[in-house]
Amino acid sequence: MVRGGEINIGTCLLINGNPHIVVEREFVSPGKGSAFARVKAKNLKNGNVITQTIKTADYVEDAQVELVDCQYQYSDGENFMFMNNETYEQFGVPISVHEDKTPYLKDGETYTLVMWENEPIDIKIPYKMIFTVVESENYVRGDTVSGATKPVTTETGLVVRVPLFIKQGEKILINTETNDYVERVND
């Protein structure tokens, strides 16, 4: 069980028997009322986002989850296919529920999967990740405005803005929460 006041973004709640991950949370105190946590939580079975309001002092059921390192292998169009790094067991995570993760999944990369009752319910994306630039507009020589940026596309289809000196084929470090460029990575 978890108290309303302890809920954070990423907390896994069990609502009507289904695991939900909290994607937004704000504390609200209606005039002359107690404090409540108003949360938006995504049903990890069907992707539906619901609103729940929980008094900060009240308990709600949280989902007992397990974290497992898995390698991302490929997408079969319906599922992201992963392999458990320890047991080599292969399984799919439905794309329809986790479509927003698509631009952060790199073939062969290891991710932490959130397992609930032996089923994968969420994919944790590292805070910072290295990507390769596969598409980049040509740098126009002479454009010396300081801080100028241009959009580039990574091998996963992610479009980010980077400084003009970044060239196609180079590797860049990206903050995956904001999609901001952090730095160029040299091999």
Partner: protein, 327 residues
């Protein structure tokens, strides 16, 4: 984003115009203590405690006021005057974030002989006087008006008048697939429904007065005779709760009963405080009056089109404790 010098000047202009507005209407400006040896019990608030110390004598606890209303009502009881005040107020255990700072500025004004409807008009006039070129349409009067029952009908499709019993309220929550904790009092169930289904849908194209709060939410507003409501409204601007208005509960017995109910609820407070038990006595002879309390920092945000309270405070609390501690 930090407060700019331009916003600092604008805020100063709003303060000056606020004073001019009330002084021109012959309201008495009060300047009451921020430190009090006792407070009235309000179960929805946690306070900050400090203490008076003396090197050789016994000290005593003091509390930073969560609102100046108690002092101001004493002035009204003793003088019968309309009063206003701009001052610091302090609330503990609330969020630190986009619209919250533990220390904030409160604007309160009380009008003798007025009801809460009169105060809507006065507040609209205040907004007109304070609006500038930069004030967005969403913060400009006239205010839209809606009763709580109308808001429930419109945004939740529910008849609030049919929900005054706990089982009916639980059914309503179930119909919206909302979690309803066992044993929850009616007020909590109401708030869950309101905060989940109604408040996020409130129109924000101009300020909205949400009127006639249910009588089950205990507060110092008087009952509307023959109706299950209190003479109380809250003002929302851009979806943000910015002000509340009570036509004051002004009988000694009613205030004393309120004290008992709140002291009961305050047993689990994180910061217990001394209670001023003499306070209900001022209502032995208290004029009919209606008062408004406005979160002045939020008012500045609304009038200046700012998105965060940090934009209207030069030293916001997040600057002391780091943005990561936003709650």
């Amino acid at each position: 984003m930090a407060m700019t010098i331009e916003i600092m000047k604008e805020r100063s202009r709003i303060v000056t115009r606020t004073r001019e507005f009330f002084l021109a209407r012959d309201y008495l400006e009060t300047d009451t203590p921020a430190l009090a040896p006792s407070l009235i019990p309000e179960s929805s608030l946690e306070v900050f405690e400090t203490k008076f110390v003396h090197p050789y004598q016994k000290g005593f606890p003091l509390y930073l006021i969560p609102s100046p209303e108690v002092w101001m009502k004493r002035v009204i009881a003793e003088t019968g005057q309309n009063v206003f005040q701009l001052c610091k107020a302090f609330r503990n255990a609330e969020s630190i974030g986009r619209i919250h700072n533990p220390e904030f500025t409160m604007l309160e004004y009380y009008t003798v002989g007025a009801n809460s409807r009169d105060n809507i008009e006065l507040t609209e006039e205040l907004f007109s006087a304070l609006s500038g070129e930069e004030t967005p349409q969403q913060a400009r009067p006239p205010f839209a008006r809606m009763t709580m029952a109308e808001a429930f009908r419109e945004f939740a499709g529910l008849d609030l008048d049919a929900l005054h019993e706990i089982p009916a309220m639980r059914d309503a929550l179930a119909s919206k697939a909302l979690l309803a904790p066992a044993e929850a009092p009616w007020e909590d169930l109401f708030n869950i429904l309101f905060l989940s289904c109604v408040e996020p849908e409130l129109p924000a194209d101009r300020p909205l007065v949400l009127d006639e709060y249910p009588k089950e939410i205990v507060c110092l507003a008087r009952d509307i005779p023959g109706r299950p409501c209190k003479e109380r409204w809250e003002l929302y601007v851009s979806g943000m709760e910015i002000a509340n208005c009570f036509a004051e509960m002004a009988t000694q017995d009613a205030v004393a009963t309120y004290f008992v109910s709140q002291e009961e609820k305050k047993r689990g407070a994180l910061v217990p405080h001394n209670v001023d038990h003499s306070y209900p006595e001022i209502f032995a002879a208290f004029p009919a009056c209606s008062g408004v309390a406005i979160g002045f920092d939020r008012l500045c945000m609304a009038l200046l089109g700012c998105k965060s309270i940090d934009e209207v405070l030069y030293f916001p609390f997040t600057a002391f404790v780091g943005a990561d501690t936003r709650l």
